[in-house]
């Protein structure tokens, strides 16, 4: 036994289980407890109608937070996703209401346009911050303003309505009576992210870059490539989230998405991803998004006013970060 800090030797199998318990199960347990609490105390909370409502409401934030997870894992932050979403909704809606196209073509083109616009904004974020070594906080703050402005220009400062009926219908679809279509999209995005982070070389590099980008560089890689890619993914998911927004609200709006970036960051952090990069999980992000919405809905049903709700949610976010510090210490002992 080398001089590790482990006092009692932990077998690999048990260590794996303990790690799961501390890293992922902790947030999941919190979600279960919060849900049980509101089920017992808040009227109408434990109804299928309310559950459906929560699923519908978390879809947008979950998609945004999935991309945000990549960025935060590399040690960056993306403040622009809210207004990039707004830009994408007006771009997507503009394409979709083009009457010279059949609905199927219009919808497909709108999806492509949303994803391309988002990915382009994300790429610019990443490229500018790595090329000139500027903190992503600043670059994406700039993009927040630019994308918001661009959304107004593209939409001529007005709300775009009149989306194809088939599109609107799909947005309202509840598959099998329990699975809203837009929640399914969110889950698919999370699943894709999970697969990439867990099973691909690219995912491994995202973690490595966030852990120590200089060591990655000296090992013969170009860490900037992975950072730019993470921002591009975040932009891409903002584009997908814009489509989800169109499915849910049926309007393209230049003032959509205000403050969404903060909810996405909150979901990622509550989900256990470390702001300093290199550690975290996208499943945690999904759970984090659930916790935020369950809290919000539950507090509302309990009759806690709109004034107090943000106070409670803010406290939970801070609490999550404090717990994260403890979790790190625990994890270090286990490994």
């Amino acid at each position: 036994m080398s001089e590790t800090t482990v006092s009692a030797p932990v077998s690999p199998g048990r260590a794996k289980f303990l790690r799961f318990l501390v890293r992922d199960a902790g947030v999941l347990l919190a979600l279960v407890l919060i849900t049980l609490f509101f089920s017992a105390t808040a009227p109408y909370f434990a109804t299928s109608g309310n559950a459906l409502k929560i699923f519908v409401q978390i879809a947008i934030n979950t998609v945004l937070a999935a991309g945000m997870t990549f960025v935060i894992l590399t040690g960056g932050i993306d403040l622009s996703v809210g207004s990039v979403l707004a830009l994408c909704t007006v771009v997507g809606a503009t394409v979709m209401i083009n009457e010279s196209l059949s609905p199927a073509v219009a919808i497909s083109l709108a999806l492509l346009a949303c994803m391309a616009t988002g990915a382009m904004c994300g790429f610019l974020n990443g490229w500018i911050s790595t090329r000139w070594k500027i903190p992503s906080f600043i670059v994406t703050l700039g993009m927040l303003n630019m994308a918001a402005g661009a959304a107004r220009v593209v939409s001529d400062n007005s709300t775009i309505t009149g989306l194809p009926q088939s599109f609107v219908d799909f947005g309202n679809l509840i598959i099998g009576g329990f699975l809203p279509s837009i929640f399914l999209i969110a889950v698919l995005v999370i699943a894709a992210g999970w697969f990439v982070l867990r099973f691909t070389v690219f995912g491994r590099m995202i973690f490595a870059v966030g852990t120590n980008d200089e060591a990655v560089r000296l090992s013969g890689h170009n860490p900037d490539f992975y950072k730019v890619a993470a921002f591009t993914i975040s932009g891409l998911t903002a584009g997908i989230a814009a489509m989800v927004y169109l499915l849910r609200l049926n309007i393209g709006s230049p003032i959509a998405g205000v403050g969404y970036e903060l909810n996405a960051i909150a979901a990622v952090i509550i989900g256990g991803t470390s702001l300093s990069g290199g550690k975290g999980s996208i499943i945690g992000t999904l759970v984090g998004a659930c916790i935020l919405q369950v809290l919000s809905t539950g507090l509302q049903l309990l009759g806690v006013g709109d004034n107090f709700k943000p106070i409670v949610i803010g406290l939970v976010i801070v609490l999550a970060v404090i717990l994260d510090a403890y979790r790190e210490r625990l994890l270090r002992k286990i490994r």
Binding site: M1, S2, E3, T4, P12, R204, N212, L218, H221
Partner: protein, 499 residues
């Protein structure tokens, strides 16, 4: 002797290493006391104990006859001990005057800074160190030598009884050193006691009264400087015999040139360097810390930019603009800063090993976890890395095992020439021997090995040839048959003692 500071049996232990052991030392009031030692001899630990940054694990320190137990740097300052650290601690965007009196800015009513008093006091302090400069100048506009003097002036502003200067001349030019020495002499005449840490042997005779030599955390001797010469100091500093822990393998014979560096120039102010290493050769690189050894290796590897120069691998010139180019051509760099630049500390052993070539354990971008674990287990076994499993985070391994993981990651990649920068720093004796053995195995496989080290006996035990850096220049090359500690050391000092 009227001792202003006395240490009795002082020791300091870090996890896995004894930094200072049973040091007893008396500093006489009013003397200038030189402390010498190689890198890692315990000089910095000693200073940090005095500065209140570390607390001793054993022994006692008395200052002015009172027990001295500073818990923080602030305590040390309050007691009248001032330390000018090697890394300067000035705030670049504040003025000289503000820096000088930061801890007690002269104030008027309502806590408003009294600028007039501030600047006039600053002028007086600057005069004491012979700096004729407007105290309102921002510190960032000063040169290193001037900053050094500002630090000393700052130390004086607190009526210090004991001034500790940690390698103050490391970055100074000869005229600046002269100026510093005249100020030191003036302070001494005023009765200030000075502890002066250096590794420049020639300069200490000019200002010192007595000298204490540390080696491997122990005190070798305290002597009057009068009557001693540089060779005496060298002998005291190095002292030990070269036991054969290195296992020099005479069967390993260097072959063709593996890597040649010609006219490598880092920037406009550094000289060109050229050297070559052969297949199956261990080439030693000696020189003081800061002599440009590490910088040259990093520039060669593409880790830092370089201005000019040719790198040839296997006789063909190759373009190296970034580490990825170097790695592609079969170069590997084991960095001096293992934790900061070599390892993904919070990631598992296997992930640290495979990071150099994930293509080997993946197909179409998908990781093959089983192949990865097999490859990692293989290398962990081969290098005898002691870890509870390949899933253990590297952070929790000992220094020696961490270093083996860094070696493993380059072996995983497959390498033709290895550059090792301080490969045994912070590594315990046992693991050190295993690393030496491993290097001989690699040399026997006809890899080229460049070994940068501050441990001269280690270089002399391991290398076929040693090149010596002094002030960014390669000042000499010594073949194994002519290895001689004093010769190599005097080469290392050559450019620094030149008038």
């Amino acid at each position: 002797m009227d001792a202003i500071l006395s240490l009795e049996g002082v020791g300091k232990i870090f996890p896995g290493a004894v930094a200072l052991s049973d040091v007893s030392l008396g500093i006489a009031r009013g003397e200038t006391h030189i402390i010498l030692g190689e890198n890692g001899a315990g000089k910095s630990t000693l200073i940090k104990l005095l500065a209140g940054i570390y607390q001793p694990d054993s022994g006692t320190i008395a200052f002015n006859g009172q027990p001295y137990q500073p818990k923080t740097p602030h305590d040390a300052q309050q007691s009248g001990i001032r330390i000018v650290h090697q890394e300067l601690n000035l705030l670049p965007y504040l003025s000289i005057a503000e820096n000088l009196m930061l801890e007690s800015l002269p104030r008027r009513a309502f806590g408003i800074v009294d600028r007039k008093a501030l600047n006039s006091r600053a002028v007086a302090l600057l005069q004491e160190v012979g700096l004729d400069i407007d105290p309102r100048t921002r510190v960032e506009a000063l040169g290193v030598a001037q900053m050094q003097l500002v630090e000393i002036a700052k130390a004086l502003s607190y009526d210090s009884k004991l001034l500790v200067l940690d390698e103050p001349t490391a970055t100074l030019t000869p005229p600046e050193i002269e100026r510093l020495f005249s100020i030191i002499k003036r302070l001494k005449a005023r009765g200030v006691t000075i502890i002066y840490i250096s590794h420049r042997l020639h300069e200490v005779f000019e200002i010192g009264n007595r000298v204490t030599v540390l080696r491997n955390g122990r005190l070798v001797a305290t002597r009057d400087l009068e009557g001693l010469g540089v060779p005496d100091l060298v002998r005291m500093m190095i002292g030990r015999d070269i036991a054969d822990e290195y296992g020099f393998d005479a069967r390993v014979v260097p072959g063709k040139v593996a890597l040649r560096v010609a006219n490598l120039k880092r920037d406009a102010s550094t000289p060109e360097i050229s050297f070559a290493v052969r297949h199956g050769e261990i080439l030693g690189v000696a020189g003081l810390v800061g002599s440009g050894r590490t910088e040259a290796m990093r520039a060669l590897f593409g880790a830092d930019p370089k201005l000019d120069g040719v790198v040839e691998i296997g006789g063909k010139p190759v373009a190296i603009a970034a580490p990825k180019d170097a790695v592609r051509h079969g170069l590997s760099l084991l960095t001096e800063d293992r934790k900061g630049q070599g390892l993904l500390l919070d990631m598992a052993v296997d992930r640290n090993i495979t990071i150099t070539d994930l293509g080997k354990v993946s197909r179409n971008g998908l990781l093959n976890r089983r192949a990865e674990a097999a490859a990692a287990n293989d290398l962990v076994g081969q290098l005898r890395v002691k870890a509870s499993s390949i899933e253990q985070a590297v952070r929790n391994l000992s220094g020696g095992n961490q270093q083996k993981v860094v070696l493993a990651k380059w072996l995983f990649r497959g390498t033709s020439t290895l550059i090792l920068d301080e490969p045994t720093r912070g590594v315990d004796i046992g693991a050190r021997r295993e690393i030496y053995q491993l290097l001989w195995m690699l040399a026997a496989q006809q890899k080229g090995i460049i070994m940068v080290s501050s441990d001269l006996p280690e270089l002399m035990g391991m290398c076929h040839r040693i090149i010596v850096f002094s002030k960014n220049r390669i000042v000499g090359e010594v073949p194994r048959s002519e290895f001689d500690q004093e010769r190599i050391l005097s080469l290392a000092y050559q450019e620094y003692v030149r008038p």
